[in-house]
Assembly symmetry: C2
Homo-oligomer: 219 residues x 2
């Protein structure tokens, strides 16, 4: 348990995360804070691929192998090395590793959700779809309090994730606020009638998508 706390790493907001110790890839889990994976184009345009939330496993690549995406802290960040977690829970080691593997799978699924968002949804739908995804994920780790959660993202970050301009994100949020779909003040969001919003935004939990495809194939 001592080893666990000794293996906690902290990064300030804005930090580029990469493994400077070795040439290998390091597995870690977020204890608190948000990060994102992104790429910056030569001309400055930016695309955010995914958000990494507390409880998410992340892979920290060595600089020499950065690949096509960077991992950046969006807030102050606390990580633990995945190894240490396994060691600290020797009896439940298998379960821990299994949970990490499953989280990794769900993360891949979310990449496809994100492509649908930026490829085929309207601005309104994109914003709602993203907020609902974040709601679900934060809910799973107990960070939702009566339909609301803390959203430590600037509108610029949301814009770069959703492939929209910052001004348009602002207007879309205003509109959602005005028609009562969401509440938004002081960095906290509330989703009012999340079921209805999910329908509006074509948001479907993974299982639902599967069911539907099966139905289509039968028909």
């Amino acid at each position: 348990v001592r080893a666990f706390w000794r293996s906690v790493e902290r990064y300030p907001a804005g930090a580029n995360l990469f493994n400077d110790r070795s040439a290998g890839m390091k597995q870690a889990i977020i204890l608190s804070g948000w990060a994102c994976e992104m790429r910056i184009l030569p001309d400055g345009r930016r695309q955010i691929f995914s958000f990494c939330l507390p409880g998410d496993p992340i892979e920290i690549h060595p600089m020499s192998n950065l690949g096509a995406r960077g991992l950046v802290a969006l807030t102050r960040l606390e990580l633990v090395d995945a190894q240490s977690v396994a060691v600290a829970n020797l009896e439940a080691r298998e379960a821990v590793m299994g949970a990490i593997a499953e989280a990794r799978q769900r993360k891949e699924d979310r990449l496809f959700d994100h492509m649908v968002r930026i490829g085929r949804l309207t601005a309104r739908e994109r914003v709602l779809h993203l907020l609902i995804e974040l709601y679900d994920r934060l809910d799973a780790v107990g960070l939702v309090r009566n339909d609301g959660f803390r959203l430590p993202l600037t509108q610029e970050v949301v814009a770069d994730a959703l492939g929209l301009s910052i001004v348009h994100i602002n207007r879309t949020l205003q509109q959602l606020r005005q028609d009562g779909s969401i509440g938004l003040k002081g960095g906290s969001v509330t989703l009012n009638n999340i079921g209805r919003l999910a329908t509006l935004a074509c948001y479907q939990p993974a299982r639902q998508i599967v069911d539907e495809r099966l139905r289509d194939l039968v028909a």
Copy 2:
């Protein structure tokens, strides 16, 4: 070798690919033809996530586990089971499996390229960026003849991949043709001065992206 040819499967254009034999996932390699991974929204909108070309490894999931993406044949398709390939090349088994693993890695990288395309590029850039990617991939398997290749995609499919309307794809292609950037007739494309086009479209081979990030971090 007999076993190899006996394990070739054929599908007609438009076929939904899934494993109906077992509950497991089947690994295969495309011998000829194109496929794509995609999702259809409840209201009929469609997003194509990736194209699968000759030489690409693909995973055919069981129906009960379709997940959030469907695999669909875009042309007549010939597959071989990955197992059979390994068996037919017993001496080079390791090399074959390694190549498949690497191809899988590159496929994941391409997902991020695709997100940049639909999230942050203009219509013109999206089309060029996609064409160049296809060029590179087809070139790697010897399917490029003097700067041109066969493109068995309807404009509707391109539109659904790039998150644009079919009409706008058509206009963009016209424009690229008129200014001499590309040649396009009878299902074959030519890229004129691919280096210049790559710059215009913010297209960067993976390694180049890495180099640049390193430079940024140093700066």
